[in-house]
Symmetry: D2
Subunit: 360 residues, 4 copies
């Protein structure tokens, strides 16, 4: 249950890490949107590229297949089903350690929730690999949003305590694309790369922070009081495995600020109402203000590490040591960057349809 | 649109700050739950008490009325409608400044979204006063959750940069109730009080952080991948006006941690599987782990301040100065504490019904 | 649970027959729609007028109160809460017969579902009186639909086996308003009146059929495959107590027809694509075709009758005779006519918003 | 949009008649349910068998593939994706007649709704073939319902005016399975067969009525007032292409009945509360009463006929004759029988989960 998101632009996820495929259904996409497999492949590839620096041994081609909803290069208005097939699957390690709960993973909660029937191979439904489906749906959402010029980008702003310096907004996208860390500050990216290599050599991992930005969002998206734009974005972003915090604009810094500092003064520039600062992160009262949507997402260090750990055997209900071989990501942050974009795109697309800005 | 939350335990908010009433409908509450007006009044009063230290001039009795769904002291299974009537309403200031966009408020976004038809008096639907309805619904949710011993509490952990020291979990509730700041650390509470007085005298306001805790939550609540427990809690918490960030467990600190530090080792204590640390904040893979749910919420400084501000007149589309008289909260954090509890209770109640732990 | 209907135009019902009030919240109504209490009162009065011929003894003024969401005569975009207060309530009969299950009523199912905690007075949530809320919401929906010229009307086409003759579509509304039966065929109305009087004198009741028509519905409303226009209309219409069947266009007659008879040929008239017959009832593939939506609704005879009946005492779990005094409707069909209109309006309004024809 | 049904047991349909595949995702199925491909194949085969008497030329193997959510023969709690691949596809006729609106089909409404981008080949999303997905989901729902002994069956009760005689309830299933018409009255089945052959030879088609029955449904399923059991069943049944009417129990006959005839007297039999008649069709106040759910569904004659028809060319916007070759079903009623069962199973499964009778 709970595998769908969105009211009018509805994304349903299916598939498992070691099952036959990973996929997604996008229902509610307007008809007549030009979508090529290449548009979707590009986002799936960006997600895979994020692996290059600190990747697992698994190498999946992840070739996108359109199973329904697109005819002669255009969406038909019918549900769009997209899938990648799992091919390079080796579940032997998971069979061996099946009952050893991996700390930081969902092994325990999934076992208890599903009475031990959950697919435990490669984390099953809880694998980061599930996000391949998210970016496929996000690729469609981006195409739809391009109709109203909404532009979405994300970049790495912190890894293991190393913070990226400020980069001129107009240059973030281009700069972030230049390194596998997707960090727009080249110097910080170099330091992060070094840190990740060190951490990897120690059989450990590091976390980080991703910033997501949406530009040209029209004023008025979001529904008070219970379907706010910030609330729905946060909900969507917490669907990304490993996310532990979401903040908008000044975020947790507001705790140290005074109202006179935090309030964004309104002004008129070029005939347009704007705010001269953006501590609100583009959202006031749960509704987009026309200023850039600014969100930051905390990503925990990958729970799969090579170091021995203390855990419990759920079958024997006894404490037991755990050592997992192979396939560790020292840092999953870069890989999560396109996923953050995807989830933002999905939510903004849904609200644009709700507002009638795009006809469904 | 968007005034409802929850799939099986559904809360619908209505009413405005200066309208006839503020209310809420709770649909899906199981029949046979003993609910007295006093149970609900208690939470509404706690929310009002939060005002005492730094309050507006408005004094509302906020007497709760049960309009439907409860007969002879028990829920009937029908929708429960609860309301408080607005009495002490003076909209004259709002008439005068109707077209001056108050920075940090939703005046601009609401005006644009609703074409100027929104109720502008006292912030209308965007007033913090709307949360009176939230706590009424939360009071019902708490009663339902008490059937399975789930206990929810929240407390102030930071105001204007002053952080509360750690308090033994078992003593937080009792200690936090001892001061109007709802801060469990008495020394910090004293410093916060002083700061708020100073800030108030300057015509300014301060923000803070609230920590919410849910104890005895059964393993297994939350639905991967798009209706995760953390995602739904975050969505609910962002419905509280002024919230700008939500984090679970180690939260944004994960950016500085290694996997070996952040992973919570599993162990067995008293025959029960637990984790020896709780960086996960009680949620793994979007599902409750049985450990305490720990969430922190950033609350921005109240946007209504006495200092003059720069803004825009939306009717004339000209820049204009703004000075708002009377009725300022120097700090809305304490008042938001019971609201955080309410939103947590609503979400956990919904998931408990979905899991069939409580029959609807 | 389940007290809401509609995705973007969402109606939530609350209140009980003998509780404090009956009401409704309309969420998602666009801002700026002119709505006066009189617009809503008119529909509530039409529903009450349906009682005149065969009414209960209960006389409620049913004065509509707007509790939220409307300011200075226009909707604000916030949830609109509407209520009528119950005043003429005498629950003594219901106390006496509390455990005697009234045949044809929901006494048994409600008792079992809610463990005996349901409000049994006057049928509680299951009273036909609940539809006062439906027509209030429908009045708002009609106002919204008038923006795109959609016109909705319903009329009585059969009572107790007496069928109304065909009336020219353009004259149905005017003719149906001329008699309390809301039957456009005056001769049939007279016969129905006679029949009802006879049945009433026997302490019995009769059922009937209502036809609902929606004109000027744009092509394209309805969503295949699971949120079809016919499916959503049917769901909404079955919410009206006593409805036992719903059919569109040729309806159950299709079982006797051949494809060559039932297929509506397409043609062009005045440059517009139409069908020369309307066996489809204005819906093809779950989507409106631009032809009039034609739906017929079977309404069972009112279950409250004066004749003695055989039943069970649920407390003693023994068979027992039942005789109910006073307050019987010999025919609830006329009263249900405006309710059919209301439910049609609510569904069509929701789909018009979904289609972006009206901006939310 | 609108391709999903169900709140806790959620079925999402995808695929087109001439696309790559037809499929369905079942989300919310409890973990640990034994499901083999054969269980699902059986229902898909029953649907295909319904074609034998009056089938199109298209012969699809319709081999079911499980793409996700089932591991080692048991559901895992993850979304179950099921698909059959389209193989025997010849779209040439559809290319030729692409712009000729077939009367009784959704060609016109789909063209208008989707701006001509809809998949027109074989009716695309509007083909009866879409129901292959429905029965796959229904097969899962039936497995879940078997946990609480709910039994669902449907049979043909009328075709082209020929009505089946009453059959003892306990013998319907067995008898209906004996002929391809799925009619439990052998004599009527023979007459229907003859009629269909005659109609087929005339290049025409006939409609009919299917009765669906659910046995052992616990008391208490269904939610007043807007998510009634009858309402949700009706909505689900109208998703089946060609359905034009739905009635419960006495159905449209109530228009001719008196309350004293229609009210089902309560009685006690074997210590259990029952009603001695079942005019209510097992539903009172939108809630199951424990008596058999009885629903009848009107199925229109297949719109594809060999006779020449009058229509419009949507591209030229001119009237034009239409003659379609090959592939006609003289009667789609038998094929729809397992689909009626599937939709009933899906709805009842959803309500059983909502009621906590089965844990999700």
């Amino acid at each position: 249950m709970g595998s769908s998101i969105g009211k009018l632009f509805t994304v349903t996820s299916f598939g498992e890490s070691h099952g036959r495929c990973l996929g997604v259904i996008v229902d509610g996409c307007p008809a007549g949107i030009p979508v090529a497999e290449a548009d979707i492949q590009k986002e799936v590839d960006r997600r895979r590229a994020g692996l290059s620096i600190a990747s697992t041994n698994r190498t999946e081609e992840d070739k996108v297949e359109i199973l329904s909803g697109i005819l002669n290069g255009f969406t038909t208005g019918a549900p769009v089903c997209l899938a990648v097939w799992n091919k390079d699957v080796d579940s032997s390690d998971y069979e061996k350690n099946r009952y050893l709960l991996r700390p930081g993973h969902a092994d325990y909660t999934a076992y208890m929730k599903y009475g031990g029937f959950n697919d435990y191979r490669g984390g099953g439904r809880f694998s980061g690999r599930i996000t391949a489906g998210f970016v496929m749906a996000g690729a469609i959402a981006k195409k739809v949003l391009s109709l109203i010029n909404v532009d979405i980008l994300a970049h790495t702003v912190e890894i293991g305590g190393i913070k990226a310096g400020a980069v001129e907004p107009g240059k973030i996208k281009e700069s972030a694309d230049k390194n596998p860390l997707r960090c727009a500050d080249a110097a910080a990216a170099a330091a992060m790369t070094e840190l990740i290599a060190k951490v990897k050599s120690e059989g450990d991992s590091v976390g980080g922070v991703i910033e997501g930005i949406a530009l040209n969002v029209p004023v008025g998206l979001g529904e008070p009081v219970f379907e706010t734009l910030d609330g729905e974005l946060a909900k969507a972003l917490f669907s990304i495995p490993a996310v532990k915090g979401v903040e908008f604009g000044a975020g947790f810094n507001v705790a140290k600020m005074k109202g006179s500092q935090n309030n964004d003064p309104f002004a008129i520039r070029g005939g347009k109402i704007i705010t001269t600062t953006n501590n609100a992160g583009g959202i006031l009262g749960g509704i987009s203000s026309g200023m850039p949507i600014m969100v930051r997402v905390a990503v925990k260090p990958a729970p799969s590490i090579a170091q021995p750990q203390q855990t419990v055997d759920i079958k024997d209900r006894k404490e037991a040591p755990l050592t997992v071989k192979g396939r560790h990501d020292a840092c999953i942050v870069p890989r999560a960057v396109p996923v953050v974009e995807a989830m933002m795109a999905i939510v903004l697309c849904d609200f644009s349809l709700r507002a009638g800005l795009i006809r469904g």
